[in-house]
Assembly symmetry: C2
């Protein structure tokens, strides 16, 4: 049976490329308009898994998805790091000199600012989605407009590539998480993502991190998000080295329960091979 994997955006989106890379080409991908929609698709069984962008090396974390991981309680079972390259796409036959308008997601536009500054007499307009901006060229048959999107979006919509790898900084990666309904915890190794909060006690954050340091468990990432209803109190999202099936991580989490007033494990999963 072919597995369905949900992603946010239109066909040709970077999230879809991440899904096809992670699962091999045999899956069926399901484009959905919003991040809550892809969490819902996994929750209801409409999709077997979803691919969730969580962090970009230039723009930082996708905070909405941190909030949704907490809300939906769907376990993380894997991650994949994808290099992100942007391409300037247009309808076949259109030349750069014909272009009067560039459309794409605001983040893609910003990442290509140096290239765009070199174009003359061209307006720049934000669009809700990179692959969606490529699709729009075809849907509306725009002969004076160009879109910034993936190479895969060019193939998908039969567009010409006018310029390649136009991002200012080529060290551009996005980390995607794979979520499913059931956890798939490795016996050992990998990483574990958790979220916790505590009453506003002095030193509580330090003590929370000490439970890992005292057991030589490496911290890979920390992220804070506001705790709704309690202004300027935070949830802390932490990635630590190792699986919760291993004794040190188990002990550390038991220790953390003594300090935190709330603790949830978001998943233990193998680390991405790429980087």
């Amino acid at each position: 049976m072919t597995r369905t994997v949900a992603f946010q955006g239109e066909s040709g989106a970077y999230s879809e490329i991440a899904a096809l890379n992670y699962f091999s080409r045999s899956i069926k991908t399901l484009p959905l308009p919003t991040f809550p929609a892809i969490f819902n698709a996994v929750k209801t069984g409409q999709a077997a898994a979803a691919v969730v962008p969580i962090e970009n090396a230039l723009a930082g974390s996708v905070h909405e998805n941190y909030d949704l991981l907490l809300k939906y309680k769907l376990p993380i079972v894997g991650e994949i790091i994808l290099p992100i390259s942007h391409y300037l796409l247009a309808l076949p036959g259109v030349k750069i000199r014909d272009i009067r308008l560039v459309i794409s997601h605001p983040q893609a536009l910003q990442q290509c600012a140096d290239f765009l500054n070199g174009l003359q007499d061209v307006r720049i307009e934000p669009f809700y989605d990179t692959a969606g901006s490529a699709k729009k060229l075809v849907d509306d048959q725009l002969h004076d407009t160009t879109a910034i999107a993936s190479r895969e979006a060019a193939e998908k919509y039969g567009l010409d590539i006018l310029a390649s790898r136009i991002e200012s900084n080529h060290e551009n990666y996005t980390r995607f998480l794979i979520i499913q309904k059931e956890p798939k915890i490795p016996e050992k190794g990998g990483k574990t993502s958790i979220v916790f909060s505590f009453e506003d006690a002095p030193g509580a954050l330090f003590k929370s991190l000490a439970v890992f340091a005292l057991r030589d468990i490496n911290l890979l990432k920390i992220e804070s998000r506001p705790l709704h209803g309690k202004p300027f109190n935070y949830y802390f999202y932490l990635d630590i080295e190792g699986s919760i099936n291993e004794r040190p991580a188990k002990n550390a989490l038991n220790h953390l329960k003594e300090i935190a007033t709330f603790l949830q494990v978001l998943g233990s999963y193998p680390k991405s091979k790429a980087k």
Copy 2:
């Protein structure tokens, strides 16, 4: 001489209200279109100070401004916490039943989602700015459109208030920072904001926080931002209790220099009285 204080947005923006509350009414406020523009205004002397939103209790941190504090090196000299309430505004005489379109900043629209769901046959469209959406009603004389903005924007543009405090969660606060060209460090008390990074050594984050814990210095906030050019390495932004004029904080920062490869003090300043 009247001091000029820059803020991002149109007249009537929450940032302008924060400026007037912080400095008293005697200042001259200077509306500018972007966050870099307000940092630039202080740098060039066009404004004596600027008011910078840094954190909202519901939406989280304004990450662009963390990056700009690092880039412009303009010291933080104060902070103010402002309760945020949203109002539904329309041209005089317009009734709720006439409304076909609601415009505002996406964050304000999201914060009023429950109220908006109760309206029938109404389209919702994101706008770049809350006060700007109020101004647009007047500029374009829109009789079938309503804007979500502050009470002050209603006064400013002569609009009627159709509904008050329509945000779903009333525990809605924004913390603003005041930046100037010269630091104004309190002799004692207040808080200090710093940013630092380190080579990817195991335990370095824990050791960095230990320099404060070992001296009983309270951590008030931690925030991580990507370090450009080094994928998945981070700058850490930290708020700690006390002024860098005090011995424990001075010692802690000297200790932190042994661990961090980069350290910058963003400012020592009195804590906001409101909350």
